[in-house]
Amino acid sequence: MSIKDYGLLINYDFCTGCHTCEIACKKEHDLPEGQWGIRVLQDGPREKEDGTWEYTYMPLPTTLCDLCEERVEEGRLPTCVHHCQARVMQFDTYDELAKQLPNMPRTVIYAVK
C-alpha cells in the first residue's frame, strides 16, 4: 500500500478548535513561525434566524501536509490524529473511512496525497 491509499477523516461537528492538530503538526515537522501543515478555519459564531448558533471549526490540511508519511511507515498514526483532543480525526484507507459516513453527519474525508 502507498500513502496515496490513505485519507484523513474529520468529524467537524465535534471539532472544538483546540489547536492541538496545528501545533502537533508544527512540532513534528519542525515548521517555522507562520507555517502550518494544517489550519483550523472557523465559521461563525453567528446567530441563526431560529435563535441557535452556527459555530464551526474546520481543520484544513495545507500543501505542507505529507500525511505524516514517515510516521505512517513506522506504524504510527499521523500526529494530528494521534493527539486530537476531541478524537474527531481518523487516518485509514478510503474504504474504511467511507464505511463510517452514514453514521457520522458533518464529516469530511480529505484526499491529501
Binding site: 483546540c18 501545533i23 512540532k27 507562520g34 471549526y57 513506522e74
Partner: protein
C-alpha cells in the same frame, strides 16, 4: 487493508528502547502546569536529553490525546531563559542584579533567616505560598509545616481563596465530600465500565472545561459524552463553542449565577420535578429550602441576571428531566462574594434531582487510596495544636477548618496581617510555583506594597518571573515534570511521575522539600531523598495503597475499586454507617454546620458589591460590567508567555467586547484600550466578538511579557496589562470565601500617546500606586459564634 498501529511502538511497559531512544511511559504534572496529569511517552537520547513527547494511547485518562501545552513541551524544557542555578540578590529589590550561588549557600541563607525570624517573632511569622493546582500541592505545605514550623500555608494572595476552595469547603460542610461529574474517569476501562451511562444533560456553570480542564477533569471528556448523545445546558456570559452546541444557553450578568440557581430550584420544586425518594431518604431541610426559594420566581431572577425567565424555566425543566443529569461547575462559582451560598444552591439543586452517586451523575471524589497529597499534608504531624490555633484567619473564617483536603490559612487575612502587624507581624514569604503579582493576587498593586514589607523573600520557580525580580532575596530553580520523581494522587488513578532528564542545577519540588526540611528540622523530618519522601507518602495512604513507590513507577498507574452509591454502602463515614459524612448523614440543604458557625444555613443570593444594581451611581461613571479570568488553550494562568509558539498563536492580552460596544467607545479590533475603574487601570487589545453581551467586557488575566525589561519600573510589563489593577482584596463573602474577580465595573478608552505617558508599571513601582482607599476588614467582621464542639467533632474518613 485497514491501517494498523505497530504495537511495539506503544507498549504497556513502563520503559523500553526504540533504536537509540529510550521511551518512558509516565504522566505529566507541572511544571509547566495545569490541573491534570495526562499519560505521556517521553523519548530521551543516550545523553538523557528529552527529544520528543507523545500522548500515551494506553493511558485511558487521556487516550493518547494531548493539549497544546504538552505538545510544546520541548520548547518549555529547553528554553534558554530557564532558571539554572540558585541566585541571591546582588542589587536592590527590583534591580534584577543577581549573584550565582550554590545550593549549600542558599540553604545557609534560608537557615539563617528562618532561625532568626522564628526566634524573634515566632514560626507563625513565616508564610508559604503556591499557585493553583500545581504538583507542589503537598510540597509547599510540607516545607511550611515541617520546615518552618508555621501553620500559615496559603495560595498566592488569591482573594477569598476563590479557586475551588469555597466549593470544597461548602461541599465538605453540607455533604461531606466534593462531587464531580462522572465521565467514567474512575475506572481504567472508562466508558465501557459496567453500569456507567452517559448523562442525559450536563449543566455547565462558571467554566469552559475545554480550556480550563479544572480540578482533575479533562474538559474534552464532555465532547466524548456529547458524541454519545449527552445534551448541554450552559450558563456563561460569553457564547463558548459548548454554549453554541447547548439546548439552552443562559447568558447572564457576571456574578449573578446565585440568583439563577435559586430560580432553577424554585421551578424544580414548584413544578414537582424533583426526585422524591432521594429527597426523602438522603437530604435534610427540604421544607426550609422550599420556603427559601418561594420568592425566587424566574421573573425575579430575570431582573437580576438578565436571563429571560422562559430560558430559566427551560433550563430547570431539562436538567430535572435527565436520568441522570450532572453538574459541571467551575471557578466562577467561587469568584464572587456569594460563592459559598451559590455553591450550596447548586449542590441542593443537584441533590433534589437525585443525581448524586448515580452512574453518569455526580460522584464523590476522593484521592485514590486515601493518599491526600495536598494542603493538609503534614499539618497535624508537624504543627502542634497551640500553633494550629495561630493559623491566620480562622477566627474570621471558621469555615476554613472545613475545607478538608483544601484547608489553608485565609489569604485576605494574611494581607491585612502584613499591613497592620495584627495579630502578629509577618516577616518572611516563601513563594513556590506562584507568581502572584502577575496572576492570582487581586488588587495586585496593593499586594506589591505588602510583599515589599518582608524581611526575607524566597521565590522557587522555573523562570525568572516578575515576582522573583520584584521581591526575591533568593531565587531557586525548580525542575519541570520530566525532571522529577513524583506522584499524582489527586483523584484517580494514582499515577507515577518518573524522572527522565535533568536541567543544570534545577531541583524537583520533592528534592527541595527534603533539602529544606532536613536542614531546618532534622530530628522530626526523616526522609533524606526524594524517593524516601515518596515512599513515606505512599505509606501514609489511609486505604493501604497496594504498591510501593518503586512498584508504582513500573505500574505507571493504579486504579482503586470504586462502586456506585457509596452512601448506601456505608463507605463514606468513619463510623461505617450508611449516609454522607455530615452531622445528619444526609446532604444538608439546610446546613447544621453553617448554622453552628453563625452563617446562614440556607442558600441565598448576594449581589456583587459593585454592580448596576448595588452601586447605580458608580455604574454611571463605569458603565461596563467587567469579567476576567477565562482561559485560553495556549496558557495556564501566567505560564507559557515565554514560549514563541504559544505567542505565535496568542501574541497579546485580549479584551473581548461586542462590536456595538467597540463602536460606542470608538475602538476597533486590534486597538489597545485602557480598562479603568476606581482602583486602577491596565491596557489590553480589543477583540470584537458577537459572543459577548454589549454591556459586558471580558478581559484576560495572567499577562506579563518576558521579552520586556526585567528591572523596575517594567517588571516584564507585569502591571501594564494586569487586570488585577482593578480587582479587590478584603471584599469577600461573610465566610471569608469568595471574592468578586468576575464581577467588577469599569470603563474603557482608547490608548493614546498622551494618556499612556505614565504606564501602570511606573505608577505602581515608582509613584506609590494608584490613589484610592484600600478596603480593610473591620473587627466586627470576626465571627464570635464558633461552636467548638461542632468543629472538633468532625471526623474525616481520609
Amino acid at each position: 487493508m485497514a491501517f494498523k498501529e505497530n504495537p511495539d511502538l506503544y507498549r504497556k511497559d513502563w520503559r523500553w528502547q526504540e533504536g537509540d531512544l529510550t521511551v518512558t511511559r509516565t504522566c505529566h504534572w507541572s511544571a509547566p502546569g495545569c490541573h491534570d496529569s495526562c499519560g505521556v511517552l517521553l523519548y530521551t537520547d543516550k545523553d538523557d536529553n528529552l527529544v520528543k513527547i507523545e500522548g500515551d494511547p494506553n493511558q485511558t485518562y487521556n487516550n493518547g490525546t494531548l493539549c497544546m501545552r504538552c505538545l510544546n513541551m520541548l520548547e518549555a524544557v529547553n528554553h534558554p531563559e530557564r532558571l539554572k542555578y540558585p541566585m541571591k540578590r546582588a542589587g536592590e529589590r527590583g534591580e534584577d542584579k543577581w549573584e550565582r550561588i550554590s545550593w549549600e549557600e542558599a540553604l545557609d541563607i534560608i537557615e539563617e533567616n528562618v532561625r532568626r525570624i522564628q526566634k524573634e517573632y515566632g514560626p507563625e511569622s513565616i508564610v508559604g505560598m503556591m499557585g493553583t493546582g500545581r504538583n507542589c500541592n503537598w510540597a509547599v505545605p510540607l516545607i511550611t509545616y515541617a520546615g518552618f514550623g508555621s501553620p500559615n500555608f496559603a495560595l498566592g494572595f488569591l482573594s477569598g481563596d476563590s479557586c475551588m476552595l469555597p466549593r470544597a469547603a461548602i461541599s465538605a460542610a453540607v455533604m461531606g465530600d466534593l462531587p464531580i461529574i462522572d465521565a467514567a474517569q474512575f475506572w481504567p476501562e472508562r466508558y465501557d465500565h459496567e453500569g456507567w451511562k452517559r448523562p442525559d444533560y450536563i449543566f455547565m456553570v462558571g467554566n469552559n472545561p475545554l480550556k480550563s480542564n479544572g480540578d482533575g477533569f479533562l474538559g474534552h471528556w464532555i465532547v466524548e459524552m456529547m458524541k454519545m448523545g449527552t445534551k448541554l445546558i450552559v450558563s456563561d456570559p460569553q457564547l463558548t463553542w459548548l454554549a453554541a452546541k447547548a439546548e439552552v444557553w443562559l447568558q447572564g450578568r457576571p456574578g449573578t449565577d446565585g440568583a439563577l440557581a435559586l430560580a432553577m430550584i424554585h421551578v424544580i420544586i414548584e413544578e414537582d420535578l424533583y426526585d422524591h425518594e432521594f429527597v426523602e431518604k438522603w437530604t435534610y431541610g427540604f421544607d426550609q429550602l422550599t420556603e427559601c426559594v418561594k420568592e425566587w420566581t424566574p421573573e425575579k431572577a430575570e431582573e437580576i441576571t438578565w436571563i429571560p425567565a422562559d430560558k430559566i424555566r427551560k433550563a430547570a425543566r431539562l436538567f430535572a428531566s435527565g436520568d441522570p443529569s450532572s453538574l459541571q461547575w467551575g471557578v466562577a462559582v467561587d469568584m464572587n462574594v456569594g460563592g459559598i451560598p451559590q455553591a450550596h444552591a447548586w449542590i441542593a439543586m443537584n441533590a433534589i434531582c437525585g443525581n448524586i452517586e448515580k452512574p453518569g451523575g455526580n460522584l464523590i471524589a476522593r484521592d485514590a487510596y486515601g493518599m491526600v497529597l495536598s494542603y493538609p499534608y503534614g499539618y497535624d504531624k508537624y504543627i502542634p495544636p497551640e500553633m494550629q490555633a495561630k493559623r491566620i484567619g480562622l477566627d474570621f473564617s471558621p469555615l476554613h477548618r472545613f475545607a478538608a483536603g483544601a484547608a489553608t490559612a485565609h489569604g485576605d487575612s494574611i494581607l491585612q496581617c502584613i499591613e497592620t502587624d495584627k495579630p502578629y507581624p509577618i516577616k518572611m514569604i516563601w513563594f513556590q510555583s506562584t507568581n502572584p503579582i502577575a496572576n492570582m493576587a487581586g488588587e495586585a498593586p496593593r499586594v506589591y506594597d505588602a510583599i515589599n514589607k518582608m524581611d526575607f523573600v524566597v521565590v522557587v520557580d522555573v523562570f525568572k518571573t516578575p515576582t522573583a525580580v520584584a521581591f526575591a532575596d533568593l531565587v531557586l530553580p525548580a525542575a519541570m515534570s520530566c525532571e522529577r520523581n513524583s506522584i499524582r494522587g489527586w483523584w484517580t488513578p494514582t499515577r507515577a511521575i518518573t524522572k527522565v532528564t535533568s536541567y543544570y542545577e534545577a531541583k524537583s519540588d520533592e528534592d527541595i522539600v527534603v533539602a529544606v526540611c532536613s536542614r531546618l528540622n532534622p530530628e522530626n523530618f526523616k526522609p533524606r531523598t526524594d524517593i524516601e519522601l515518596l515512599e513515606e507518602a505512599v505509606e501514609n495512604g489511609i486505604d493501604n495503597p497496594p504498591f510501593t513507590y518503586a512498584e508504582l513507577t513500573k505500574m505507571v498507574d493504579s486504579w482503586p475499586e470504586r462502586p456506585y452509591a457509596m452512601h448506601e454502602k456505608g463507605l463514606l463515614r468513619s463510623d461505617g454507617e450508611p449516609g454522607f459524612n455530615t452531622p445528619t448523614g444526609k446532604i444538608e440543604l439546610y446546613s447544621l454546620v453553617l448554622e453552628a458557625l453563625g452563617d446562614p444555613a440556607l442558600p441565598y443570593y448576594e449581589e456583587p458589591r459593585e454592580s448596576p444594581i448595588s452601586t447605580p451611581d458608580l455604574y454611571e461613571e463605569y458603565p461596563l460590567v467587567l469579567t476576567t479570568g477565562h482561559r485560553s488553550y495556549e496558557f495556564f494562568h501566567s505560564e507559557h508567555r515565554q514560549q514563541p509558539t504559544m505567542r505565535e498563536f496568542h501574541p497579546w492580552p485580549l479584551v473581548e467586547m461586542h462590536p456595538d460596544t467597540a463602536k460606542k467607545y470608538g475602538v476597533k479590533d486590534g486597538d489597545w484600550v485602557w480598562i479603568e475603574n476606581t482602583r486602577g487601570r491596565c491596557r489590553q487589545v480589543v477583540h470584537e466578538t458577537p459572543t459577548m453581551d454589549p454591556r459586558v467586557l471580558n478581559a484576560e488575566h495572567g499577562w506579563w511579557f518576558p521579552e520586556q525589561d526585567a528591572a523596575e519600573p517594567s517588571l516584564f510589563g507585569v502591571f501594564d496589562s494586569n487586570i488585577n489593577n482593578l480587582t479587590n482584596q478584603c471584599v469577600t463573602g461573610a465566610t471569608g470565601y469568595g471574592a468578586p474577580y468576575k464581577s467588577q465595573l469599569c470603563k474603557i478608552y482608547k490608548c493614546t500617546e498622551e494618556n499612556s505617558e505614565v504606564m501602570p508599571g511606573k505608577q505602581v513601582t515608582e509613584l506609590g500606586g494608584f490613589k484610592y482607599d484600600r478596603i480593610q476588614y473591620t473587627d466586627d467582621a470576626v465571627h464570635d459564634n464558633t461552636n467548638e464542639e461542632m468543629l472538633e467533632g468532625r471526623k474525616y474518613v481520609y
